[in-house]
């Protein structure tokens, strides 16, 4: 079936003229029609625009153009601004917001010929680990619809896992690509901070946010990242480092690769989870990689550090949603203060408000030093420890999440338990490091992820190692029942 083919295979069929982009697009649109109602993964569908873009891609191909993503359908997380299309960020605040411009990521993928089918559900303003904070309702996990898909990019992950598109975009601030990728059994890549432009990606925590990709394999992710990555003069934090050829790096042998096992990741790890990681390590060792233990003593401070830094930045980033220029405005404001209070009070959900309040608190006079400054120091320590570790090893490997997907509603009323879900993923965001999650087995019939973290701009090495692992395993080929 077309939807079960990899991006690489689909690109081959398109290039050989065995299938047209219009046919491919129709195929996926039909699957979305049939399967999305049970998942709630997409919240905006753009069938006519998609078919027009597909026809244009076919025409371009007819006139000699060729590129790996030309005519390939995709789904954008609804955090990316798309010109003329609603960009809600999962919030009532932006339910009526039609973006007048394209995010750089959207623009680049469009330029590469990819065809947008629609936009994916997400936790409101990317704040959440279960996709339950969305104004548009929770996304269901295709492996078990009573379970969450993870978050905040839950819609993108569920859609990719359910084969509603060959790939999807996501963003990762504290694990929002890797955690849902792990919980839905797909591959999710968060590049180095600054590798992909943040322009047009609605900001949650600017110093942590990074755009990335969901695909069904590291090889597919490499093709997508190729089109997304690169310096953007419109984003001062994007880095002007040349983009290597990711696909060409996939075949690098693992022999001699030094893999670090983070002691802090294995303390108190569920034995079933540990067994999956051990099995994965055996695969790497079998190919000649070496493993050794490394320790990052301050890594356990990741979660508290993150929950100071991220809310602080979000409390400021979300100030622009004030009911004045765009987005939700309350009815009949009686004065300016009333306009602000009710527009924001009605427009934002509980988790967003919680983080705005936390962030406002940690930045306020008298608390700034005790919270924000201290968190920055902890962040620096964690970054330094990662740097020291990467002087010893090429990659570090560990679990992506502590547990498989949990039940819808199980943690939504207990924010601290929910926040601990990101315990293994946050470190890479604090240090700005590239990381990937690849499927590595199942617990209770639910998929689990293996996380590979590398030094800054080591995307090639990470994708290569993940690809070699996927050549030797079949976990990433598993399809949720009913979505084969």
């Amino acid at each position: 079936m077309l939807h079960d083919l990899s991006l690489t295979e689909l690109a081959g069929l398109l290039a050989a003229g065995k299938v047209s982009s219009v046919e491919l697009t129709r195929h996926f649109l039909a699957r979305i029609d049939r399967l999305n109602p049970g998942l709630n993964a997409l919240i905006t569908l753009e069938p006519s625009a998609a078919l027009a873009a597909a026809a244009a891609a076919d025409l371009a191909r007819g006139s000699g153009k060729n590129s790996p993503l030309l005519g390939i359908p995709l789904i954008h997380k609804d955090i990316f601004c798309t010109a003329g299309v609603r960009t809600s960020c999962g919030s009532r605040m932006l339910d009526n917001f039609i973006s007048p411009y394209d995010a750089t990521v959207v623009e680049r993928l469009k330029a590469a010929g990819a065809v947008m089918l629609g936009k994916a559900n997400m936790d409101e303003f990317a704040m959440g680990s279960s996709n339950e904070t969305s104004y548009y309702g929770p996304v269901k996990n295709p492996w078990d619809t009573s379970k969450v898909p993870g978050g905040s990019s839950g819609g993108s992950a569920a859609a990719t896992a359910a084969r509603l598109a060959p790939f999807a975009t996501g963003t990762d601030t504290g694990g929002s690509i890797r955690q849902p990728a792990a919980l839905t059994g797909i591959t999710g890549m968060k590049p180095t901070y600054g590798r992909v432009s943040r322009y047009g990606m609605i900001a949650f925590a600017s110093s942590l946010d990074q755009a990335g990709v969901f695909a069904r394999s590291a090889a597919d992710a490499a093709l997508v990242l190729q089109a997304m990555a690169g310096f953007d003069p419109k984003d001062s934090t994007s880095v002007d480092v040349p983009v290597p050829n990711y696909a060409a790096a996939l075949d690098a042998p693992l022999k001699g690769l030094k893999i670090g096992l983070l002691e802090e990741f294995f303390d108190g790890l569920d034995p079933r989870n540990a067994a999956l990681i051990d099995a994965a390590l055996a695969v790497f060792r079998a190919q000649g990689a070496e493993t050794r233990r490394v320790s990052l003593p301050h890594l356990p401070l990741s979660v508290p550090t993150y929950y100071v830094v991220a809310p602080a930045e979000c409390s400021s980033n979300l100030s622009r949603f004030d009911g004045v220029r765009f987005g939700h405005r309350c009815a009949d404001p009686k004065d300016l203060l009333d306009l602000y209070k009710r527009s924001r009070g009605e427009g934002f959900g509980a988790e967003v408000k919680r983080r705005i309040m936390t962030g406002t608190y940690v930045l306020s006079a008298g608390y700034f030093d005790a919270y924000y400054l201290k968190a920055q120091k902890a962040r620096q320590l964690i970054t330094d420890e990662f740097r020291a570790a990467f002087a010893e090893v090429d990659l570090v490997i560990g679990p992506t999440t502590p547990t498989p997907a949990f039940a819808l509603g199980a943690k939504i009323d207990d924010p601290v338990t929910m926040y601990l879900n990101d315990i293994y993923t946050i470190g890479a965001n604090l240090a700005g490091l590239p990381a990937i999650s690849v499927p590595c087995g199942f617990i209770d019939d639910l998929p689990m992820g293996l996380q590979l973290i590398g030094p800054h701009f080591a995307e090639e090495r990470i994708l290569g190692a993940a690809h070699q692992y996927q050549l030797a395993t079949t976990w990433h080929r598993q399809s949720p029942r009913g979505y084969e």
Partner: protein, 483 residues
């Protein structure tokens, strides 16, 4: 009870709008007076997802200013967010610099009324963006927002509390005004708000070290308002203390119609701005090479020019200061001197500061639009120097040049204003005047020496003012004999 001798303490925060073509963090134009919101890009409107990109030209201008006040240029400075809600602040925060400004401690000197020179410390100068404007008039039940100004680059120049009177404050502000225009980093237009200040004012009994509680007067956009607002505020504070009250720390507004300041918000009502480094912008790193490039581009500064005028042309400190108050005026003066000869620089200075300046003021013209060019003025001075006309006649000639656009020589020829320097001709007139006024002659000779002026006047009248005054004086004395 003797009244306390109060000492006034003032510090100014000057906001100079930098003369960049585009905004500090977006590509939108900064031109003044465009239709509302026609110069507001998505970045200025703070649309979801947009990001700021620093305008390098604004940085260059800030460094230029820093070098001109001998300040340390920070090799690494940080942009911070100042968070507060207001409709004309679209992001809900202003991007400014807080703990690490681009320009550190420097100083500038001002000339006081008694001619002495005082050095005023400048604490820092930092880059920030301006807010938009709220328009509360002309709309029923609504306020309008114009974001054209939002994101315009500002250099905020913060002085030490070194100023001791309203006059010193004005002198300092004028000095900074001169400097930023010299550097061509600000157009200095105060009506349009390109150059404005907040004044921190307090009083303390003379001799006490501890500062009094200060009030901050916001948004003063003329030198006159600065002076008046400070006068009012000082009197208000002294009156309050002397009548048993205390000054409260607060922000006040100056009402130029009523000539008074009034409370805007107290310290308790002040916002907690929650400053933190802006994660969308990298630290601003400035290297030595950049600083040296900017240094090489610095023009001759006002103090340097004034010193040169005093040294090379023998001008007084005051005159040298006036003539170097703007680059354009200094250039005009130098052009006159170049044509007239350095030996006549003082004469040139008197004419530029005198007749020329009053004519410009009268017609409300800038020096660049002067109707008498530097070369033409030098032509007029040459006729004074060679005694073709007297200084008095020269003023008439100047007026004719100003309104008619002709050269001095053309005016002199056309109106027959050439001075009479022929002794015989002057003597003939003197003889005629003496003959016509026998009584005055007798009185003069009898000792009424004040009548000398009468005879000068009669001769000048008869010659239509064209007799050479010095010659006339000598000849008349000889003819009249001793009084």
């Amino acid at each position: 009870m003797a009244t306390t001798d109060w000492e006034v303490v003032i510090g100014l925060e000057i906001h100079a709008q930098l003369a960049t073509k585009s905004k500090i963090f977006s590509g939108a134009a900064t031109a003044y007076g465009a239709p509302p919101n026609s110069q507001a890009s998505l970045v200025d409107l703070a649309y979801p997802g947009v990001l700021p990109v620093l305008n390098a030209e604004a940085v260059r201008m800030a460094v230029k200013f820093g070098l001109s006040i001998d300040a340390r240029i920070a090799r690494r400075s940080i942009f911070a967010r100042k968070n507060y809600f207001y409709p004309d602040l679209p992001k809900g925060y202003q991007i400014s610099q807080y703990e690490d400004p681009v320009v550190g401690k420097g100083s500038i000197s001002i000339v006081l009324e008694d001619g002495s020179v005082k050095t005023i410390g400048i604490t820092r100068a930092h880059l920030e963006e301006d807010a938009g404007k709220s328009l509360h008039e002309g709309l029923a039940h609504a306020s309008g927002i114009d974001l054209n100004r939002a994101g315009t680059p500002l250099l905020e120049i913060v002085s030490e509390p070194d100023l001791r009177s309203a006059k010193e404050a004005v002198a300092y502000m004028k000095k900074i005004h001169t400097l930023v225009r010299y550097l061509e980093i600000c157009d200095g237009n105060m009506q349009e708000g390109s150059f404005r200040c907040d004044a921190n004012v307090s009083v303390r009994p003379r001799g006490r070290e501890k500062f009094g509680t200060r009030a901050e007067i916001k948004n003063l956009n003329s030198f006159r308002f600065v002076e008046k607002a400070i006068h009012f505020e000082v009197a208000r504070q002294i009156d309050r203390i002397e009548s048993g009250g205390t000054v409260v720390q607060e922000t006040r507004l100056y009402d130029s119609d009523k000539g008074e300041t009034r409370s805007m918000r107290s310290k308790e009502e002040a916002n907690d701005y929650r400053y933190f480094p802006d994660p969308d912008l990298l630290p601003l790193v400035i290297d030595e090479a950049f600083i040296e490039t900017v240094r090489a581009s610095l023009p001759e500064l006002p103090d340097e020019k004034a010193a040169r005028f005093a040294r090379d042309f023998g001008l007084s400190v005051y005159d040298a200061g006036v003539l170097s108050a703007s680059r354009e005026l200094g250039a005009f003066f130098e052009a006159v001197v170049a044509a007239a000869g350095a030996a006549h620089a003082k004469l040139a200075a008197n004419w530029v500061m005198g007749e020329l300046s009053s004519a410009l003021n009268r017609d409300n013209l800038d020096i660049d639009a002067s109707r008498v060019s530097a070369a033409a003025l030098a032509g007029l001075l040459a006729r004074i120097v060679d005694a073709t006309i007297s200084g008095k006649i020269a003023k008439e000639v100047f007026e004719a040049m100003w309104s008619g656009g002709s050269s001095a020589d053309e005016v002199i020829a056309a109106q027959g204003l050439r001075q009479i320097t022929d002794s015989g001709a002057i003597e003939a007139v003197i003889d005629a005047v003496m003959a016509a006024n026998p009584k005055q002659l007798a009185d003069y000779r009898a000792g009424k020496d004040k009548l000398f002026g009468f005879f000068v006047g009669q001769v000048m009248k008869a010659t239509e003012g064209k007799a050479n005054p010095a010659q006339l004086n000598d000849l008349l004395k000889a003819k009249l004999g001793a009084p």
